[in-house]
Amino acid sequence: MSETLQNESLATDPDTNRLERAPRRSTWSAYLHSPLGVAGGAVLVLVVLAALLAPVLAPQDPSTADLALAFHGPTTGHPLGLDSAGRDVLSRLLYGARTTLGGAGLAVAVALVLGVPTGLVAGYRGRRFDGVASWLVNLVMSLPAMIVLLASRAILGPTVWVLMLVMGVLVAPSFYRLTRGVVADVRGELYVDAARVSGLSDARIIGRHVLVVVRAPIIIQAALVGGIAIGLQAGLEFLGIGSGDTPTWGAMLNEAFQNIQRSPGLIVWPGLALGLTSASLVLVASALRDALEGAGGARRARRRPAPRTSTTPVPVPAPVPSSAGSDVPRGGLLSVRGLAVAYGTDDDAREVVHDVDLDVGPGEIVGLVGESGSGKSQTAFSVLGILPRGGHVVRGSVTVEGQEVLELDERARRTLRGRVVAYVPQEPMSNLDPTFTIGSQLAEPLRCTLGLSRRAAHARVVELLRQVEIKDPERVARLYPHEISGGMAQRVLIAGAMSGDPRLLVADEPTTALDVTVQAEVLALLRRLRDERGLGVLLVTHNLGVVADLCDRVAVMQDGRIVENGTTAQVLRRPEHPYTRRLVGAVLDDAPCREPWEPPSSAPDRTEATA
């Protein structure tokens, strides 16, 4: 949110050329900060080195057997002892790493070669190619992998390489799906459209925009598939379905398991090698994923900077009663004094709302106006006690009908929500649970908190929908959220807010997501509810037109503070605070229409224009 708090008016402000440099942490350094990731990487490097240097490091040839020494314990020549056939365990372990890693490498390579290019084309081009490829992929995914592997061994011969090649084919769909999904997402991004409009060729767009995004998930998936390949290969060897005499970890495990009674120690080394290698692959993959989410996190989280909401209350410090209350007598319905809201804990707490005073009387509509990041929504959430996770009230007092609500415990506050103070959110669609019908989600609080019977709740729901001017409420109650329009959804949400017959409505940008014609209808509805029921409304908005239409009084917020407060006419006509003046000045209502176009006297020089 700090980003949008920045001063925007580049043209009028002296500090036009100052940009706040966000900490830019590279993926690489983020990765190095993960101890498990570093450990996993180190193990992998060691195993690869051991495999490469096996001929140098191994005390003897892995298949040299000396039955006289079978099951012999560690000696200087054989640091890990000898197996049931008197072969050196360390040598077999080192050479086994070659087969194991090589096989896994082959499987991953085959899967990459088959899966990634097809996924790229299917995701980018879509259409017919996508249809055919997806059908093939579903076919391969329906194959019973184990049976195919075993059968292919019977057909193609008993070598690790054949098995791993077949496995590569079998897991290729996972790369296809991953690539296709990521590419299709990127394909829909506006910046790819912009690149196309800029005249870049498809090859260039894929190179510049698509590969970058797809690269990391593929590396992660490759590490995971590598781990699975190693496990599967060892499993097959363990069953004795491997490649005969080649030393492998799986075969060693099998041999050790058969002699478990006689020499239980033999199982340790191959088991450890196998466990450590595949675990380190997974650790590397997950550390890489975390690093990417940390470093490039802005990609996903950019739109909604709001911290996560939680259904469980997080323990927060008790608010300190504010001594610095204003002298204005406290409003009858809602009164906020010296409210401060912060995110984070003690040391790095960031205060986003500072000493806010607000009053709403019965039947009064008070606007809370500000730009994004001004703290207006946080103020509204504090009144309801539904701040997102990590946010808490640090100071101040909030009374509803004279009762201090900040001192109430969560359970007691919950009884106020819906029945005394209700909430109308901004985005109508995302605020309805898509998995329930309109009727059932409106009925739920009626039954759960007001204890109505099923029948009575349904009757009340229909009545509520009628009150928000929905025609045919019986039918609408049976619909799911995705079957209704945005304007209708906002009416449903207002009906939901009215269901507990509240006295105060907190409406957070209730019309921002709506078209102007629908907005006008919703504003009329809110006005009617106020007139008929004497409802008090705290209306959070950035739209001064909405304020002028609906509000009796208005408070202007900037950077977490209320900078001006007064009747609507007073604030909009004679703003006093410089910020309010700027805000009102930016409204284009009174700006003159642009004059009609006239042919230019001379054609402007294009080259000059671009310089």
Binding site: E3, T4, E8, S9, L10, T16, N17, R18, L19, E20, R21, A22, R24, G131, L190, Y191, D193, A194, A195, R196, V197, S198, G199, L200, R208, H209, V212, G296, R299, R302, R303, E371, S485, R491, D515, V516, A520, E521, L544, G545, V546, D549, A569, L572, R573, L583, A586, V587, L588, A591, R594, E595, W597, P600, P604, R606, T607, A609, T610, A611
Partner: protein, 288 residues
């Protein structure tokens, strides 16, 4: 474009009887026609404001002109040349004349690309060498009022308004004749919106570029456009000089749209509200 520069007054962009149909989901599913025969034109140096509500098809018009939406029938002409169904190569060359600024400054810039690289993109598309492209980036940043060191930063280090300046700079890089602006200020705060609009006006005054300015906000359109076209359900219902449309709208939908947007003055808004109620009552229009 090397074709003869057209005489003043003749349109730069012409759209005739444009139909756009999006394919249905799944095979055999019927397509959905979102534009039912749209006609419009934009003259050199002119701004045509295109106003409509969500789902009206206003964005689709812009995308069809840019070659990003499937045109079922009709013609699109740029400076007299038919660009309805151009090949990929010609479409790429068109980028020199035709550019775009999208609504969402967050998704219209690649988050992992430095701003300098984003700005160089259209230049690279025109065959400019990477070195020359980089040299021209600094000038572009100056042009839109951003510091020069912005080139070496990632988009997430910028606010929404600053990102939109980057997007405008990208559109200007090749000196286009027409820029399609798709809701370029609707994601911005009020005060930021004002400065970005000023920038667009200034650029037009200096370079004589034409804008097809798409927006849902009549106040913004009125401020920026020489002429306004109102689109409703895939059809243009009103088209004329801005003042005529604003003051003497003939179409009932346009009148309702005009009255629906609240103004920031309580008394004036009360009058408008009553007039709107009268209009709605007259047309027998009740909520869904």
């Amino acid at each position: 474009m090397s074709t003869a520069s057209n005489a003043p007054g003749t349109p730069l962009l012409e759209v005739h009887d444009l139909h756009v149909t999006f394919p249905g989901k799944g095979w055999r599913a019927a397509g959905r026609e979102v534009l039912h025969g749209v006609d419009l034109d934009v003259r050199p140096g002119e701004t045509l404001g295109l106003v409509g509500e969500s789902g009206s098809g206003k964005t689709t018009i812009g995308r069809a002109v840019l070659g990003l939406a499937p045109i079922a029938s009709g013609r699109v002409l740029l400076a007299g040349e038919d660009i309805t169904d151009t090949g990929r190569r010609r479409r790429r060359a068109l980028a020199r004349d035709l550019q775009v600024v999208f609504q969402d400054p967050y998704t219209s810039l690649n988050p992992s690309l430095l701003v300098g690289d984003t700005l160089a993109e259209p230049l690279l598309g025109q065959g400019v060498t990477p070195r020359d492209a980089r040299a021209r980036v600094a000038g572009l940043l100056d042009r839109v009022g951003l510091p020069r060191d912005a080139a070496t930063r990632l988009p997430r280090e910028f606010s929404g308004g600053q990102r939109q300046r980057v997007a405008i700079a990208r559109a200007l890089a090749v000196g286009p004749r027409l820029v399609v602006c798709d809701e370029p200020v609707s994601a911005l705060d009020l005060t930021t919106q004002e400065t970005v609009l000023e920038l667009l006006l200034e650029i037009q005054r200096d370079s004589g570029v034409s804008y097809l300015f798409i927006s849902h906000d009549l106040a913004v359109v009125r401020y920026l456009s020489h002429r306004v076209a109102v689109i409703h359900d895939g059809r243009i219902v009103e088209n004329g000089p801005t003042r005529d449309v604003v003051e003497h709208a003939r179409d009932p939908y346009t009148r309702r749209l005009l009255l629906s947007a609240p103004v920031a003055d309580p008394d004036e808004q009360r009058i408008r509200r009553e007039r709107l109620a009268a209009v709605r009552g007259a047309s027998g229009d009740v909520a869904a």
